[in-house]
Amino acid sequence: MDELKKYTEALFARQPQTSKVQDLKDEIYGNLLAKKQDLISQGYAESEAIAKTKDSILSVEGIIEGNQLTYINRFKTECWQTLLLYGSILWILSIPTIIMARIPFSIITFFTVVFFGISYLNSKKNNQDEVAFVNEGRYKKMSRTVWIIWCIFFVVSTVTVTAVMFGSNIWFVRPIRITGPYAFASVAVRYYIPAVTVLLPIAIGSFPKILAYNERKDYNG
């Protein structure tokens, strides 16, 4: 592989491997080769021409579609803050489940809040004016993936709970008896716990919006 090819590969190393990015990579490589030939024809030695060609393009971040110059630490801080906010709501919603002896769920949500809180405070310490390119498509894809995972989790847990709670009643043709508020709550809590975890995909789903909000708008490429 020639040196300009390697350089082009290095420029695109952190970019998503889509067909559009591949076309752009080929185009840039072609341009670099043309520039090198041009410099050689002007009388530059090959090594000198390659060095000057490399200097002509130091980054491709700004020309990748979907990349946005962002106040990166502000963005990360707001993401952690949003997770902390929704995590706190989830913790509050988990507290009544302690009454039904669902203590582990409440403990997990509590430590999740602690983790989000520490991450948020740490993130706040970073330079909030630092900028970097962030690909919005990546966060939209992350949001979609988290929603799909949550939907699968919710369906599987709901079906499992229904099978465990009512399977034997259906199999042995016994009537399903919910004799009072406590009996109802002990059934309902098994559906309630997976349902309230919807707050996590909601929180992660807001990341693309937070990203758009933290764009550095005075940048012209």
Binding site: Q81, T82, L84, L85, I92, I95, I99, T179
Partner: protein
């Protein structure tokens, strides 16, 4: 950002208050209520029929159903063993204690209650024998139905049960008729 921080602080305060309320008020209150309820389940005069309706069964042969039923009936704190005779539809319960230890009046009343409960719930249960160290009591469906003057399964709702079964057990003369 500040607005969100304020909201987070308010939520955390709500969380801490809710946790304290659940941990130090609601749970101890529920525990006390549950203990009181459990204590009532060990006495035929205060037992809750709703607590055993899920053990209704057509056959005496379901051993786990029998064991679970008697776990929720009076005398549930006394260790016991079961023997099922599915051919004659007889059930024998061996209580590993004496009448003197438990209290004769309570045992007499609770055995009547347990028998009527079990026969009302298990359709083909014809006879129950209770064996204590030194004492044996036998109850047949016919005898129970005669003395309560009802088809037993028709008694299985809270109001009828209280009126036709539980209230009668306050009367020691009525109870003693089962032991003549």
């Amino acid at each position: 950002m500040d607005k969100k921080n304020k909201l987070i602080i308010i939520l955390l305060i709500i969380g801490v208050l809710a946790f304290c309320a659940v941990q130090f008020i609601i749970i101890p209150h529920n525990k006390a209520m549950q203990e009181e309820y459990n204590a009532r389940q060990n006495d035929s005069l205060t037992h809750d029929i709703e607590n055993i309706l899920s053990y209704k069964s057509a056959y005496i042969g379901d051993a786990s159903n029998n064991a679970n039923l008697f776990n929720r009936l009076p005398l549930n704190s006394v260790h016991r063993k079961f023997k099922i005779d599915p051919d004659d539809c007889f059930l024998t319960i061996y209580y590993l204690d004496t009448l003197w230890n438990i209290g004769e009046a309570k045992v007499h009343r609770d055995l009547v209650y347990n028998s009527v409960s079990a026969m009302a719930l298990i359709d083909n249960l014809e006879q129950i024998t209770y064996e204590f160290s030194g004492d044996v009591f036998i109850f047949t469906r016919e005898e129970i139905e005669n003395l309560f003057d009802h088809d037993l399964s028709s008694l299985l709702n809270q109001e009828t049960w209280n009126e036709k079964v539980q209230s009668k057990l306050h009367d020691s003369d009525f109870v003693s008729r089962f032991y003549e």
